[in-house]
Every structure is written in structure tokens, then in C-alpha cells.
């Protein structure tokens, strides 16, 4: 495609000159410093959050396993808890207290682990967004 000479001359004739280059660069540098500070802060926060999640996972897993082992190691013929009220349902609960406690603990641990995994995934997505979407 041929260039329109008159238009080209018009554009080139009014090419501006900038006498505030140093000032412009100083502003850019200041903004880059600010962005760098925010980025570092966000990365540190995310790292701390991730560490907290991993710590919660490990502590939860170990304490859950210890509690479960403790419950299962108790004598099978002695219920974990009893009710003073005479009722067939409560009696059934008391007889199966070990099984109920173990199931509840396992459900609680599963829910905790799923929450932690979900949080860690959110952190990873957030970190990815922080890097890409500034």
C-alpha cells in the first residue's frame, strides 16, 4: 500500500518533542517501586497463608488420627458414653458409640481436608492471577 505523502509529511511535521523525559522516568520508576512493593507483599501473604494451610492440614490429620486410634483402642464392650434416660434409640447409640464417634471423626477429617485442599487451590489461582493480571 502506497503512503499518502501529504499525510506522512503532516504527521512527521508535528512529531512532538518532550522536555519532561526525566520527570516521566522518575514517575515510572516510582510506580514500578510501588508495584514491586505490592507484589512482594502479596507474594509474602500468599506464602504465609499457604504455610498456614499446610500446617493446619498436618496438625488436623495427626490429631484426628491420634484421636481415632484412641477411640478404637478403647475396650469394645465398654461404651464411650451412656445415657441416664431409658430409651431404645439412646441405648442403641450408647452401644454403638465407638462406631458413631469414629464415623463422625472420619467425616470431620474428610471435610477439613477437602476445605484445606480447596483453599490451597484458591491460593494457587490467586497467585497466578496476581502474576498475570496486573
Amino acid at each position: 500500500m502506497e503512503k499518502d505523502k501529504k499525510l506522512e509529511e503532516l504527521f512527521l511535521a508535528q512529531k512532538p518533542t518532550f522536555d519532561d523525559k526525566a520527570e516521566f522516568m522518575a514517575t515510572v520508576t516510582r510506580r514500578l517501586d510501588a508495584v514491586e512493593f505490592v507484589r512482594q507483599h502479596q507474594e509474602n501473604t500468599l506464602r504465609r497463608y499457604k504455610l498456614a494451610m499446610v500446617a493446619a492440614f498436618v496438625v488436623g490429620f495427626i490429631s484426628g488420627a491420634v484421636t481415632m486410634a484412641f477411640v478404637l483402642s478403647m475396650p469394645a464392650d465398654v461404651p464411650l458414653f451412656t445415657f441416664s434416660v431409658e430409651s431404645s434409640i439412646l441405648l442403641w447409640i450408647a452401644e454403638n458409640s465407638r462406631l458413631i464417634a469414629t464415623t463422625a471423626l472420619a467425616l470431620l477429617m474428610s471435610f477439613g481436608i477437602m476445605s484445606i485442599i480447596s483453599n490451597v487451590q484458591d491460593i494457587l489461582v490467586l497467585r497466578h492471577k496476581c502474576v498475570l493480571n496486573y
Binding site: K6, L7, P16, K21, M25, T29, Y134
Partner: protein, 160 residues
């Protein structure tokens, strides 16, 4: 790319970048400089992924072009010529320019035509390079240039 290398590169490229954005902003220096700053921050944050060796300016212009289009999308601008005249006469930067008519004429072009025309006539890019910067096809760039040139000639009352 390290921070020092990036700053050295942008020190060299700031003038063409600001010229480009000043033309896209039709002589509004404050908007152009704000967009230039935003584009440079975006470029800095993406500089880790920059691999096009030797094409730093094109890469920077691509980011600046996208920043300009996002800015145009996100804010309501004064589109009439009267508004443009008021704006231009009130900005100190434009007093330095002899040919304000060109900025007024550029204002009548849609953003994509304005980008193509500016890159072609002011920055001297080829159609292929403009297609890369604006992420469109070469045919689309040719059409934008052709339409933009006709409109500019009409606005500027230029004779053949």
C-alpha cells in the same frame, strides 16, 4: 528481563511510545502520559514472559495499543468536534503543536483506524507489523488504513 534492563529499554523507547499515545489521545497529553505509565507498568509485570528479542518497541506498542482500547472502552469520551476543540485549546501540551487540525481530524476516526493510521504514518510501521501489534489481519489493517486516510483527507480538506 531484569528491572535495570527494562528501565534502560524504556528510557530509550519512551519518546516514540508517548508520541504514539499522544496521537491516539488526539493531543491530550495528560491522558497520553497516564496511558503510557499504565502500559509501562503492564509491560514491566509481563516482562518475565517477554521473549521477542529485538522487537521490544513492537511489544511495547502492542501493550500500549491494548491499554488505549481498554481505556476507550471503559470511559465515556467526548466525541464531538466541539468538545475536542475545547479540550485541545485548554491543554498546554497542544500549544507546542503547530497542526492541531490533525488531532481534530484524528478524533473523528474510530480507535482502531486511528491506531493503524498513527502506526503507519507517525511510527513508520509496515502493514504486517501493524497487524501484529493490533492483533488483526493484514487485510483488516489495509481497510482501516484506506478508510482512515480517506476520512482524514476529507476532514483536513486535502486535495490530491
Amino acid at each position: 528481563m531484569t528491572r535495570e534492563v527494562f528501565i534502560t529499554q524504556i528510557e530509550r523507547e519512551q519518546e516514540p511510545l508517548r508520541c504514539f499515545l499522544l496521537a491516539l489521545c488526539c493531543g491530550n497529553k495528560s491522558d497520553a502520559d497516564d496511558l503510557a505509565q499504565d502500559a509501562l507498568v503492564k509491560a514491566y509485570l509481563s516482562s518475565a514472559g517477554y521473549q521477542e528479542q529485538g522487537k521490544f518497541r513492537s511489544w511495547l506498542f502492542k501493550i500500549a495499543h491494548n491499554t488505549f482500547l481498554n481505556h476507550k472502552d471503559s470511559c465515556r469520551t467526548m466525541e464531538t468536534l466541539d468538545d475536542a476543540r475545547t479540550l485541545i485549546s485548554s491543554t498546554t501540551a497542544d500549544n507546542a503543536f503547530e497542526h492541531q487540525e490533525l488531532y481534530l481530524a484524528l478524533r473523528t476516526l474510530p480507535p482502531k483506524e486511528r491506531s493503524a493510521i498513527t502506526l503507519f504514518y507517525l511510527n513508520g510501521y509496515s502493514i504486517k507489523e501493524i497487524a501484529t501489534i493490533t492483533e488483526t489481519s493484514e487485510d483488516a489493517v489495509k481497510k482501516q488504513l484506506s478508510r482512515g486516510r480517506d476520512k482524514l483527507r476529507q476532514e483536513l480538506k486535502m486535495e490530491d
